[in-house]
Amino acid sequence: MSIETRRVLALHGGLVALLIGLHFVLPAYHHGNLARIMVLASYAIGYNILFGYTGLLSLGHALFFAAGMYGMALTIQHAGFTPAPGLLSGIVAGALISGALALLALRTTGVAFMIVTLMFAQAGYLTILYFGEYTRGDEGFVIQTAQRVLWGIDLSDPANRYFAALSLFAICLGLSLWLVRAPFGRVLVAIRENEERVRMLGYDIYAHKLGAMVISGTMAAASGAVYGLLFGYAGASFASVQYSIFPLLWVLLGGAGTVLGPFIGTLFMFYLIDLSSGITSAYMLIAGVTLVALTLFAPQGLAGEVRRRIWKGLP
């Protein structure tokens, strides 16, 4: 094991260890927030695989997040599933939908790709509203505490919830780290940097992009399913455009194309909005200003700056 690999493992393992430690010291309010942040950061990690590493900017990831959430919530609510098969059906729904959208959307590039993903996600959102009889539309529905017991563990309990969120986060972080250091991930980065050259070297661009989009969408779906299960609620607002913009914002802020960036961005943005919503109801203003400022002044984000100035090998 090289020194570089050891440093990388120490950094990312250290973050997970820190998060375990924080469980014992954080006050209840921040403890609950951090559980939420870890689930949302897993969503952002999934988004980052497509946007940060493959260079495909999707404006429709809320579709995958919601596919996971509703794949889980609807089967539990209407088909009497227990949480484990419920989670599985959410993840499968996300994989299928991201695969189907990838088959269509990957025929386009650049701006057209962004608009196509935006339109299909919007159609998904409207479909949830249309079947309001089952989904309860914007109002959403609550998943009862009794329906949220996974293998005898009550997920509505704060400590269990925290560790469930941490497990999801650790899995996604580990997967992402492994992926970007594996040959498949290297090809993705190469596609982002110079698609034509990768094609010339004989790689199948389409298959790699398809793979990236399905992995990314499945991770987003897993986060959506876990989010619904841990916080006991599924609503159409999670499928709205706003939830497609959020992961973009988090990843841009934290640093696109870095493994830790999504978590850093989610953490910062969550508290920025949390603090400002105490002052004004127009808290999305912060999101707007941050987006514009980031595109103008720091397109690499926080972790991107660290990579540029301090540690060139940061994955």
């Binding site: 900017l57 404006l59 269509l104 959307a105 025929r107 386009t108 650049g110 701006v111 057209a112 962004m114 608009i115 196509v116 339109m119 299909f120 919007q122 159609a123 409207l126 479909t127 509203l129 249309y130 913009i245 973009l248 841009l252 004004t280 109801s281 127009a282 808290y283 999305m284 203003l285 999101a287 707007g288 200003v289 941050t290 987006l291 514009v292 400022a293 980031l294 595109t295 103008l296 397109p299």
Partner: protein, 308 residues
């Protein structure tokens, strides 16, 4: 009411939607055509137009027509100025990179929307129409005594709605004349055709971009002023015009003005008629799917001929 008058009524309502939509979409199409950027904040310029119209009408007082005419002048100019400022401070510095511009205009969308929420508030407020006579419409039907002419109950429109259709048509003709008959239009088309070559010929491309961005936003604001006596001004009203404009611009062929107008009429009319038979949500689902599929399988638009 019989089905015939019902469809006539729906297509009249649809014609109003189409008129306003055509103005908004031409603004978006102009920006896309000349500058090659997608402006996600376009719907918010529309909303700003409506909100400014309310402020102007509110401050002017007096006869409703006075405030309305003032709003018709002030709102597009003010919104155009805001757009020019946004272009010069943000878009220009991004070098009009298509993807980064989209992200920045998403940010701009939230900034404009939330600032409006903070200052104007969450209420929906009406602006009074300058004139608003109810016009009953006749219908011909074959009755027991042969063809007869009568006024079915509920089949009516207002003089204002007809005026909106007329005004939108006039403005569109104005835009067409501007693009094809004037020097500034020539410069815009030159920039659209080949940015580098235009620059080489001494055309101040950056000024043209700022102007086009302002003009596009101004058209959206103008459309909003026209519609605000029928709808109300609300800080979230920008979402639907944005979506519909996208649909229109993409179906009409990206950057093609005649295609855009044709598609606006088609979408506006069918929107009015479809929503008589289907639920509005289902109609929107079909429309968004259509846009997605058109972009995937026919990126030049349904009426376009060259690749975008």
């Amino acid at each position: 009411m019989e089905i015939g008058p019902y469809i006539l009524l729906a297509s009249l309502e649809g014609a109003v939607t189409a008129a306003v939509l055509a103005l908004t979409a031409v603004g978006l199409s102009l920006v896309f055509g000349v500058m090659r950027v997608v402006n996600i904040a376009h719907g918010e310029f529309f909303m700003l137009g409506a909100v400014i119209a309310w402020y102007v009408a509110h401050w002017m007082g007096g006869h409703p027509a006075l405030g309305f005419v003032a709003a018709l002048v002030v709102a597009p100019l003010l919104v155009g100025a805001i757009a020019v400022a946004a272009d010069m401070t943000i878009l220009k510095r991004l070098d009009y990179d298509p993807e980064r511009t989209i992200v920045a205009t998403i940010g701009l969308l939230y900034i404009i929307q939330q600032l409006t929420l903070m200052s104007y508030g969450p209420e929906a407020r009406p602006v009074e129409a300058p004139f608003n006579q109810r016009i009953a419409l006749p219908w011909i039907e074959r009755g027991e005594s042969g063809w007869q002419f009568y006024y079915p109950w509920g089949l009516s429109t207002t003089s204002y709605k007809l005026a909106v259709i007329g005004a939108a048509g006039a403005v569109l003709c104005g835009v067409w004349a501007l693009m094809t008959r004037t020097r500034i239009g020539l410069v815009m088309r030159a920039t659209q055709a080949d940015r580098e070559m235009a620059l080489a010929f001494g055309i101040p491309v950056e000024k043209v971009y700022a102007l086009v961005f302002g003009l596009g936003a101004g058209l959206a604001a103008l459309a909003a002023v026209l519609i605000v006596p029928i709808q109300q001004a609300h800080y979230l009203m920008g979402a639907d015009p944005l979506l519909l404009s996208f649909i229109v611009v993409i179906i009409g062929g990206l950057g093609s003005l005649p295609g855009t107008v044709l598609a606006a009429v088609l979408i506006g009319l069918s929107d009015g008629i479809i929503s008589v038979f289907f639920s509005p949500t289902l109609a929107k689902i079909l429309a968004t799917l259509l846009v997605g599929l058109v972009l995937v399988f026919r990126p030049q638009g349904l009426f376009g001929t060259r690749a975008a």
